[in-house]
Structure formats: structure tokens, C-alpha cells
């Protein structure tokens, strides 16, 4: 297998071309042809003439094909899989492909499936770019064919391609893409790509075949380029002590002890905290820890206690008089409950949880002495949001920000808030000191300043008709509005819908005719953020445990009960059935319980079965096996999908069993991995993943299995013990309490 090195750096490799290209034109680059094939992006039509239009691909006369990758890389593989989709339709020889980072220009590189933003989130990279990248690749191939047709004076229809080669079967002639680059003329107008010009998926050479991720070699020899590794002469080190509660700032700063730290340079008061600069990371963090700051205490969150808060949330969810916002309504909605022969209700809860990406947040910024320009080195889930945050902070245009994209040491949603507060930290410190600054959060900062998966309470009601059919469903969820905090821009665009918090509460595939999902919006004043699994985490926790309880109430097998509800959704039915067969569902195990959960996650169909035992003395749940069946349509990189799913399962185990953030007086109580427990190798069972490849449009895989785990565990514990766990995480003390009850 060929190993590819990354390009030498985003700036050099992806500097956008500013020669005023029309979007339907191509240009001749230095070493060959550059195709500016940006046709088809919805955002382009209006904006193309106002922005520098960067190319997707450059073909060199030596045959090298340079493809721009628009997604950032945090281990999910999109840096490789998106260019691979392009290369497939271009019919490129993958060993000749070089992948470089795309410049931060939404109008050219924005995700068509994600509002046209360069935003690697929501497991949306492959699903959002798939169609556009296929078209762009096909377009390049057509241009190459046309050129050869003219050169050889044969009809283009007689030409075919093989890997990086155009073939004329009738005359036996062949010519490599690199050779074509030497003479090709660009058409004034790019060719239209019809569906018939796209490859028949049966002929795919790259999609569906595993290739090595391009950055992988740098991840086994220490050279992977995380922003935290950036170093150059003159770089100062910064740290920030931030108000525990958002919306406040320092009232009084005592930095006398900080000044005594060896290497301390200066203190920088900030609107929301206090920065320190020093000559090393260690000195900066020590000086920050030595600060004594009193806070203005004006903001809402002071006084918030997460345990008491959750009781209030639960009371609000329970109280039908509490006003709510509708999320999903189908059939007669909740009113249909009145006509039911029997109605059941239950309540579920989730605590705050923390991302715990292994690379603590950090950023490097170099602001020009006069504040007129800025250079950034960042690992972020959105290149353009990072650039915008820096530009807004400095009051300069985004074009004055030079952006260096880095690998992310984990994202899971944390590196994607609209305000990019960790980037702003670095920008403000550099601006104050007029020197480049590397700003690093300690692990303790990363937890203390965390933006959490929200606290939620769910009140569920379901009704059966006289024939025993589940016909009515009402889900009332009380929680903070995540989208408004994380991304006010998208919140407004979405008509003030809290899609980050609420997604997953809707039930598209279960055949329940009357449904209503309402959100009761709470305001704890705490910071919230999408976390792997986003709304599906808490929402499917409530849905899938409740479904299980209903099955048991009806005396039905929980797996058969789901299969019956999924009769009208063949792909959903297939994954549940598959997971059951993988687990040998009907075989009884001594001292072990099996639990199942199923999710339609933005089109990806996924089901999981877990096998557990419970140590009744300690309350510890032990996992023995996890079986996952997943259908995400076309499997672009199958082994990577399996790897992502394994990772999702491990992440889901932590959220299910041990991860819990608490707040007292608005302050986070946890501080490092001794009191915020994420799974270690010894906590992880055997994980079995099977993909059901279907010809459907590919959908996401980066977080889909995570929300399956917690409900499946609760369901397995119920199968084993008859006791029901309804509060996540299912910590040993909660298990013991439930067993006693």
C-alpha cells in the first residue's frame, strides 16, 4: 500500500488563486492544469464573483493530482475520504493523488449538506459533499476526454478511462493524465455532468475499498501536526483563567503570587477572565493557577446547582401547564392519548457530560502590532468560524486573517462553537503583547471551562389502543437550549429551533401514528455544546429505554416489539434483525442480560445489542460483548466506518456508565481524569461491528453508535434483574440504589 505524506502546509499549498476566475473557467497553473470546477455548489451562484475562487484539483505534467480536502481531520477520516470520492469520478490513480488542505473559503469549499459552511461536524462530511465531489470529479474527467478526443481526432464517446489514463480501444492508444496536462486546452464553459456521466457504483475502484488514511504515518512517529506542537522563535506562552460562569468577568485581580512564578511576563485582564503570559507553557499555567480573582457575579448561572437543577427540570417536564415549543407532531399528537385504552408514563434523566478530547484546547495567534492583520494556527472543526472569530475580535476583515489548519487531537463537537473562544483567547493575548502567543488550556482548564452535553429531563407518555397497538406518544423534554448557546447564527437561521438539543427525539421509523415531542426550554446559565451523539444521546436514551419498558409491560420480547414497530421501514428492520442474530438474541446466558437499542440517526440505521452482568455488591455494571449492525448506505471506506463505530461504542460506554459533570454555585466540580472517568482498555468489552452496505446515498458514521449504548445497557440490566435504570450515567451508586428499590 502506498503511503502519502501530507502537503508541506496549508498556507503554501492552498493559497487561493486571486486572478478573478469566473467560476466556469479553468486556469493553467505553473506545473500543469488547475481546474476550478466549483460548479454546482448552491452557495456559489450569488457569491462566486465576490470571493477568491480556489481550485479543487491541480493536475501536474508528472501525473501528480493534487486535491484539496475541505474537511478538518480529527480522526474520522474525512481528509482522505472526501478527496477519494473526487478521485473516483475523475478516475485518478490513487497512488498519484496528493491531498492538501483547502483554504478557508465557504463559498468554494463549504459543505453543501451543511449550510455551505466549512464545518466538520454532525458526521456530515461524506454525506454532505458526496454528490458535489462526484460531479466535480466527473467534470474533470470529461474535460480530459474532450482534449484527447480533439488531439486524436476521434469522438469522445469512443474514449474510456482507466486509473489516470485515457484509452481509445479501437486504435489501442493510451495516454496518461500527466501527459494530457501538457497540451490540454480549457473549454470556455465547463461541461455539464449528467447522471449518465457518473460511474456505475459497480465499477468503483476506490469507493468501498479501504485505503490508508493520508495522515496516518504521522500518527505513529510523533510528527502529526497538532496546533499544540507549533513552535517558532519569539513565541510567548499564554494561559487564561476564565470566569466559572459565562457572562461575567473579573471584579478584582490579585496577581502578586503569579508574578513570583519564574518565567512570568505579564498579566492581561480580559472581559471574561484574566490572561497571563510567560516564557513557557508550564510557567504560564502555574502563573494562571496563582492568580486570585473575584468575579462580578452578575450572570444567571451563579447559584446553579446541577442536582437541584435537574429536579427542577424534571418537575417542568412533568408539569403539563409548563409552556413548551413543539419539535415533532404527527397524526393527532398527544391528544390521541385521551382515546387510548391504556397509557403508561416514565421519566428519564441525563447529567452534564464533558468531551474530554485528548488534546486540550489551544491556539496560536500572531496579531500585527497595529492590529490590522492576524495569523492563526489552530485545530478546529470550522476553519471559517475560526477565521471569523479572530477577525471579529480584532475588527478586521476575514481576508486579513492568515489561517494555518492543524490536525485536531479530538473534536467530538468541542472544537466547533461559533465563538471559538479558545481562538479568541490567543488573539486577545497576542494583541495585548504585540507578539505571537501560544495559548494552552490545562486539562483542569479544559474541564472547568467545558461546554457540556446538557442536563436533561424527559417525561414520556405512551398509549395503546384496545387491540394492543402502540398508537400514541408524547415526549416532553426539559433542557437548556444548546443551539442558542453554541451557535446563535444557525439558531436564528433555523427559526429558533434547538436542533442540536432536540434531534433524535423525532421518531421517523417506528410506526406510531400519533406523536408529539415538545421542548420545555430551561435556562440554567451554564455552557452547553454538541457532544458526540448530540441530541440523540439524551433523546434516544429516553426513547429506547421507554420502548423497552413498554415492550415488557405488554409481555413482548423487546427485540420482537421493535421489529413489529419497524415493519414499514425495511432498512431499520434489517439492522435490528441483524444485531439480534449477531448476538444470538434468544439464547439465554446464565447471570447475564441482553439489551437492544435502535436508532435512525439522520438516515443511518443502527442497532446494538449488549451483554452485561451486574456486581450486586458494588453496583458495577460489566459489559461482555457489544454487537452493532449499521447501514449507512454506500460504504465509502468500510474499515474506517468500523473503526469509527468501535470508537463510538467506547465513547458511549463512558457516557453510559461513569461520565458525569456536576455544578455547585455554577462552578464545575470535576478537574481531571481521576474524577471524570473515561473508559480505559479494561472497561471495554469485545465489540463486533457488521456493516450492511446498501446502494443508498451515504450517511454519517462518526457518532451514530454512541447513543445506542446507554439505553441498550439499561435494557440489558432490566432483562437480567427486572430493575430499571432511568438516570444516566448508570454509576454504581445509582445501580445499588435501584437494585434496593
Amino acid at each position: 500500500m502506498t503511503i502519502f505524506a501530507l502537503g508541506s502546509g496549508a498556507a503554501a499549498d492552498s493559497a487561493p488563486d486571486a486572478s478573478g476566475l469566473d467560476r466556469r473557467m479553468f486556469m493553467r497553473g505553473a506545473g500543469g492544469l488547475t481546474f476550478a470546477v466549483a460548479i454546482g455548489l448552491p452557495a456559489l451562484a450569488a457569491e462566486a464573483r465576490r470571493v477568491d475562487l480556489g481550485p479543487w484539483v491541480t493536475l501536474s505534467t508528472d501525473g501528480t493530482i493534487t486535491i484539496r480536502g475541505p474537511a478538518t481531520e480529527m480522526g474520522q477520516g474525512s481528509r482522505t475520504s472526501l478527496p477519494l470520492i473526487f478521485a473516483e469520478e475523475m478516475d485518478a490513480d490513487w497512488s498519484k493523488v496528493r491531498i492538501v488542505r483547502a483554504a478557508p473559503i465557504d463559498a468554494v469549499y463549504g459543505n453543501p449538506g451543511f449550510g455551505g459552511v466549512m464545518y466538520t461536524a454532525g458526521s456530515s462530511a461524506v454525506t454532505g459533499y458526496y454528490k458535489a465531489l462526484r460531479q466535480f470529479g466527473a467534470q474533470v474527467r470529461l474535460v480530459l476526454l474532450d482534449n484527447v478526443a480533439r488531439r486524436w481526432n476521434v469522438p469522445a464517446s469512443e474514449l474510456t478511462t482507466e486509473a489516470s489514463t485515457v484509452v481509445h480501444a479501437a486504435s489501442g492508444r493510451r495516454i496518461g493524465y500527466g501527459e494530457i496536462a501538457a497540451f490540454a486546452e480549457m473549454p470556455a464553459k465547463a461541461p455539464e455532468v449528467r447522471d449518465a456521466d457518473l460511474k456505475d457504483p459497480k465499477t468503483f475502484r476506490l469507493i468501498g475499498k479501504d485505503v490508508m488514511r493520508v495522515e496516518l504515518p504521522t500518527k505513529v512517529n510523533g510528527t502529526a501536526d497538532y496546533a499544540i506542537n507549533v513552535a517558532f522563535p519569539g513565541l510567548l506562552h499564554g494561559a487564561v483563567l476564565r470566569t466559572p460562569v459565562p457572562g461575567d468577568g473579573p471584579a478584582a485581580i490579585d496577581d502578586s503570587a503569579a508574578k513570583a512564578v519564574r518565567g512570568f511576563i505579564r498579566t492581561v485582564p480580559l472581559p471574561y477572565g484574566v490572561g497571563v503570559l510567560a516564557d513557557s507553557t508550564v510557567a504560564a499555567l502555574a502563573a494562571k493557577d496563582a492568580l486570585k480573582v473575584t468575579w462580578t457575579r452578575k450572570a444567571k448561572g451563579w447559584g446553579f446547582d446541577s442536582e437541584k437543577g435537574l429536579e427542577e427540570f424534571a418537575a417542568a417536564a412533568r408539569d403539563p401547564a409548563r409552556p413548551s415549543k413543539p419539535w415533532e407532531t404527527a397524526g393527532g399528537g398527544a391528544a390521541a392519548l385521551a382515546a387510548c385504552a391504556s397509557v403508561h408514563e416514565a421519566e428519564y434523566r441525563c447529567d452534564f457530560a464533558y468531551h474530554a478530547q485528548m488534546e486540550p484546547l489551544n491556539a496560536v495567534a500572531s496579531v500585527a502590532a497595529d492590529g490590522s492583520a492576524c495569523e492563526l494556527w489552530v485545530g478546529t472543526q470550522s476553519q471559517t468560524m475560526a477565521v471569523t472569530a479572530a477577525a471579529t475580535t480584532l475588527g478586521i476583515g476575514p481576508d486579513k486573517v492568515t489561517f494555518h489548519e492543524h490536525l485536531l487531537g479530538g473534536g467530538f463537537g468541542r472544537r466547533g462553537p461559533r465563538d471559538m473562544e479558545f481562538v479568541v483567547d490567543a488573539v486577545l493575548l497576542s494583541q495585548a503583547v504585540k507578539q505571537p502567543v501560544k495559548m494552552v488550556w490545562s486539562r483542569e482548564d479544559d474541564i472547568r471551562n467545558g461546554r457540556f452535553h446538557p442536563l436533561t429531563a424527559h417525561h414520556m407518555k405512551a398509549g395503546f389502543d384496545a387491540a394492543g397497538q402502540l398508537v400514541a406518544w408524547h415526549h416532553r423534554k426539559a433542557a437548556d437550549v444548546v443551539t442558542e448557546f453554541q451557535d446563535p447564527v444557525r439558531y436564528q437561521k433555523a427559526g429558533q429551533k434547538d436542533f442540536i438539543g432536540m434531534l433524535g427525539a423525532e421518531l421517523k421509523t417506528y410506526g406510531i401514528p400519533n406523536r408529539q415531542v415538545d421542548q420545555i426550554t430551561m435556562d440554567s446559565g451554564m455552557r452547553t455544546q454538541a457532544l458526540r451523539g448530540i441530541g440523540f444521546g439524551p433523546n434516544k436514551w429516553a426513547v429506547e429505554v421507554f420502548i423497552d419498558e413498554l415492550a415488557i409491560l405488554r409481555g413482548a420480547d423487546p427485540l420482537a416489539f421493535r421489529l413489529d414497530l419497524l415493519k414499514g421501514s425495511p432498512r431499520a428492520h434489517a439492522v435490528v434483525d441483524k444485531a439480534g442474530r449477531m448476538a444470538d438474541w434468544s439464547r439465554k446466558r446464565e447471570g447475564r442480560g441482553l439489551g437492544v437499542a435502535y436508532i435512525d440517526y439522520s438516515g443511518t440505521q443502527i442497532a446494538g445489542v449488549v451483554e452485561v452482568s451486574v456486581d450486586r455488591a458494588s453496583g458495577q455494571i460489566k459489559l461482555h460483548d457489544v454487537w452493532i449492525a449499521l447501514d449507512c448506505g454506500v460504504t465509502v471506506q468500510p474499515d474506517n466506518i468500523v473503526a469509527q463505530t468501535e470508537g463510538c461504542v467506547v465513547y458511549g460506554i463512558g457516557l453510559a456508565l461513569s461520565e458525569r459533570i456536576t455544578m455547585v454555585d455554577g462552578e464545575v466540580q470535576q478537574s481531571n481524569f481521576y474524577d471524570y472517568l473515561i473508559p480505559r482498555m479494561r472497561d471495554v468489552p469485545a465489540i463486533h461491528v457488521e456493516l450492511i452496505a446498501t446502494p443508498n446515498h451515504p450517511t454519517g458514521v462518526g457518532q451514530m453508535a454512541t447513543p445506542v449504548i446507554a439505553p441498550a445497557i439499561s435494557n440489558a440490566v432490566a432483562a437480567l434483574t427486572g430493575k430499571r435504570l432511568r438516570h444516566m450515567p448508570m454509576t454504581p451508586d445509582r445501580v445499588l440504589e435501584t437494585m434496593k428499590a
Partner: protein, 151 residues
Amino acid sequence: MSIAFRVNGRDVSVESEPDARLLWVLREQLQLTGTRYGCGTGLCGACMVHVDGDRAFSCQTSLHEVAGRSVTTIEGLSPDSSHPVQKAWLAESVPQCGYCQSGQIMSAADLLAKTPNPTRDQIVEHMSTNLCRCGTYPRIVRAIERAAKEA
């Protein structure tokens, strides 16, 4: 004060406080950034190196403790990623975000140096010092088993 030791076969002398942590000396004074900061408290293993052939949390190791000793970091494990553990890591596509992986590889190399054919339980026991938030544990086990076979 100045403390002399070996890093990746090279003699170095570092000006620092004797209680400075090896992690930060490696990262910021010797520019060996393959050794990572994850927690600073001996809980994650991202900072794992070898000191005289034994694995050590570099965030918990004071500079004076390595005076006159030999430190190996991920950069020195092999000159060309040819260590059996590194090869197995690529063959099994272990890394996801990759941030923890230097530490994982250094822990795994330490295990195999002492226990060339570890049982699954020995692997799990030894490797549970190292956190991986991306959840690459199943592949780490497979890669260690492969490295043991192919070494």
C-alpha cells in the same frame, strides 16, 4: 542548573530547574513534540517515554531523575517507523485523532520488550494506563498481537 542526559541516543544538556517535568523539557526545550500533554497528572499516558528501557510518565518524571540516564521518545523508537509496533499500528489502522498514540506505542513497545508474547489479559492490564478518547482500544489489542507475531 544544567542537567545532562541522553535522548534518543544523543547527549543533551538542559538548563532548567531540577524539578522541571521531563514532558515539558522534551516538548519545549528539545522540540520533541511527539511526546504529548494530556493531563499532567499521570492519568492518561499521552506523555509516555522510556527511561533506561522502562516506560515512564514524562509528566511525572523530574529532570533530576533522568540525569545521566537514557531517555527514548517516540521520535527515537525507530528512525523510519520500522519498529514492529509502529508497523503493526499502521497495518491495523489504529490511530484516529492520533493524539494519544505516541504514548500508546511507547507503552506497547515496553510491554513487548519484556513480554514478547503477552496474553490478552496482560495486554489489557498493561495498556490500561493509557487513555484513548477516540476508543481505539480494540485495534490496539490487535496491533500488539500482530507485532508480537511479526517481531
